[in-house]
């Protein structure tokens, strides 16, 4: 059943369809409505939404809920997620399946999302929907991937994604039964010698006896960190996703992500219809970055242009994928409204078109 819904409402609804039963958050534009919708919809679904007194406490509460085996999420905009970074690092080490919503201001949180703003070797799967229809699928996919890999997954949205209303269907997607969570705490193994420890440290419970006290049943800090790093490597091999159009015979390939990519894609379709030799590549997972797909898409290009609403972040990953095969230029930039939260002048198909045309002429591509 399709309904006209604001993005925040549709995403909250999709999360609940996916089995999310805990959310904690702190108001911050343009994420606030997501909190409002969770607060309204979770209790009737048998879940809990806590209005946390700070972002730091919100992620802590989600951590506790995750430890009990529940599907749980938190979110904010980039600034609020900055406050949660220590916990994000450690939740990744504790191998808990947190889903994080970033309703970003512009696209300047690409580095924060993909490199991680926290300490240590950790990565989150980052999904960047182009519109609400894709967001509703990716939100459900997020909970599935988080459980499959026991790793956080971040939904990278923005002001438009959160506040545009579109007709969407939030029917639950069947990913099969979620994995069993024998590691989750419920108290029941207390006193048996087999009680559980959910910890980022890899140290485990002190189960073995012996005259020297024996050892812990965990792998130890070093082995644990290495195991998590190895898991992230396996995620890299398995979960990259990308959309490409017309790259087989494109002289200029434009790369973009998230909602702004919809504007770029529209322009590419327009130019293509006029016979211009342009192609389009859109990473859907910002991490793992679809390096191979982007490299293949740009293999025949004379120039690669990256459109993003920031000072140049995804362009680094595009350059790494292209690896010198063609020059990579940025055609985006910082652009926002007077509030700093929303949509700036750069998100305009005429403006984007003129920038792409400039790249086409500079590349001396015959019309």
């Amino acid at each position: 059943m399709t309904e006209l819904m604001e993005g925040s409402e549709a995403m909250a609804s999709a999360a609940i369809s996916a089995g999310c039963r805990f959310f904690a958050g702190y108001p911050m534009t343009p994420f606030t409505e997501l909190l409002e919708h969770f607060a309204k919809r979770l209790p009737p679904a048998g879940g809990v939404c806590v209005n946390a007194e700070s972002e730091l406490e919100a992620v802590g509460m989600a951590w506790g809920a995750l430890a009990t085996g529940a599907r749980a999420a938190t979110g904010s905009t980039g600034q609020g997620l900055s406050l949660m970074q220590e916990s994000f690092s450690e939740i990744t080490l504790a191998e808990l399946p947190l889903v994080i919503f970033n309703m970003a201001r512009g696209q300047g949180d690409y580095f924060q999302s993909t490199r991680g703003g926290g300490h240590g070797d950790y990565r989150h799967v980052v999904l960047a929907p182009i519109d609400l229809a894709e967001a509703v699928e990716l939100v459900q996919l997020a909970f599935h991937l988080a459980d499959v890999w026991r790793n956080p997954v971040l939904i990278h949205g923005d002001y438009l994604l959160a506040h545009l209303a579109e007709s969407v269907s939030v029917e639950p997607i069947d990913f099969g039964p979620p994995p069993a969570k024998g590691w989750a705490v419920d108290g029941e193994l207390g006193g048996t010698g087999l009680s559980r420890l959910v910890s980022p440290l890899g140290l485990g419970k002190h189960r073995t006896g012996g005259s020297d006290g024996g050892g812990s049943d965990g792998p130890g800090i070093e082995a644990h960190l290495q195991a998590v790093a190895a898991k992230l490597e396996r995620i890299t091999m398995a979960e990259a996703r990308c959309e490409t159009r017309y790259c087989d015979d494109a002289s200029v390939v434009i790369a973009a992500f998230g909602v702004p990519a919809k504007f770029v894609r529209y322009v590419v379709e327009q130019l293509r219809a006029e016979g211009q030799s342009v192609g389009f590549v859109r990473p859907i997972t910002l991490w793992p970055f679809p390096t191979e797909a982007v490299a293949a898409a740009c293999a025949g290009a004379r120039t690669v242009a990256v459109f993003e609403i920031n000072a140049g972040q995804m362009i680094d990953d595009v350059r790494l994928a292209v690896l010198g095969q063609a020059p990579v230029v940025g055609i985006g930039g910082i652009s926002t409204d007077h509030s700093g939260f929303g949509v700036g002048a750069l998100l305009d198909v005429e403006l984007i078109r003129s920038r792409i045309e400039a790249v086409l002429s500079a590349a001396e591509v015959p019309a």
């Binding site: 406490e57 430890a67 009990t68 916990s87 420890l197 140290l203």
Partner: protein
């Protein structure tokens, strides 16, 4: 193990076992004379006495006592420094029938996590926070916390805490007792056998108030840290009573119960 003096164990009954049943190992690398293990004993005994052994989830903060995350035989979530109260909130909201406690030091709760415990108490979350207060950051080597008392010498207040430069200590149990969501707040200590026994009763009362669904409870337990206090181990109890105990005063601050 030594031989009994005066008779045979077969002619005697066990009055107090060396370790609580819920402690997986007595090995820990805490200092001689540390008060924290004494608090751990009564915590575990209280859980068992209330019949909550298979109904308890603990949340540990970061400090010397983190050593016990590996040896408490109850389901446990290891949290970050200061963050146990919010983690405990998430646990209790998902598992409302469990007995949920946090185990934190003064550096953890009164410094890094002051906001967390105040909010958790104000919300009346049905969890029990256990504060091990020795007036120092023990694990980093004995540094000033927000609970360190005036005049107390620590690694980074070698001349003694000075209000002019370092400000005043926070009596966190007193702060929390003022919040409507907190229903049982008490401060005990482990500097003498009698104090240990009284503090155990505080823990029992706190847990009972949680199980009755009444609201948030806090038991602050003053513990000896002769290493952090630069004193010989035997002087620990007297220092605790005479220094920390004069500022962080002992007793039930809120919610006296019959027991």
């Amino acid at each position: 193990m030594t031989e009994p003096v005066g008779g045979r164990l077969s002619d005697a009954r066990l009055v107090a076992p060396d370790k609580p049943d819920l402690l997986l190992t007595t090995e820990h690398n805490l200092c001689p004379g540390c008060g924290e293990p004494l608090a751990i004993r009564i915590l575990l005994e209280a859980i068992a006495e209330l019949g909550q052994v298979t109904n308890t989830v603990g949340v540990a903060g970061i400090g010397c006592y983190t050593a016990f995350s590996a040896s408490l035989d109850v389901d446990l979530v290891q949290a970050l420094h200061g963050r146990a109260p919010s983690v405990a909130t998430g646990v209790k909201r998902m598992l409302p029938d469990r007995l949920v406690f946090t185990l934190q030091g003064d550096g953890d709760m009164v410094n890094e996590g002051l906001q967390e415990v105040l909010h958790t108490a104000a919300r009346g979350e049905r969890v029990t926070c256990i504060l091990l207060n020795n007036g120092v950051f023990g694990e980093t080597g004995g540094h000033m916390t927000a609970a360190t008392v005036l005049g107390q010498r620590t690694k980074n207040t070698l001349e003694g805490r000075n209000s002019e430069y370092h400000g005043f200590p926070i009596r966190v149990a007193d702060l929390i007792a003022q919040l409507d969501g907190a229903v049982y707040v008490a401060r005990g200590s482990v500097h003498a056998a009698g104090a240990v026994a009284r503090t155990k009763k505080m823990i029992l009362r706190a847990f009972e108030s949680q199980l009755a669904g009444a609201g948030f409870s806090l038991v602050e337990i003053l513990t000896m840290c002769p290493t952090g206090w630069f004193i010989p181990t035997v002087e620990g109890p007297e220092y605790l009573d005479g220094t920390l105990g004069q500022v962080h005063t002992m007793g039930e601050l809120k919610g006296r119960a019959e027991r």
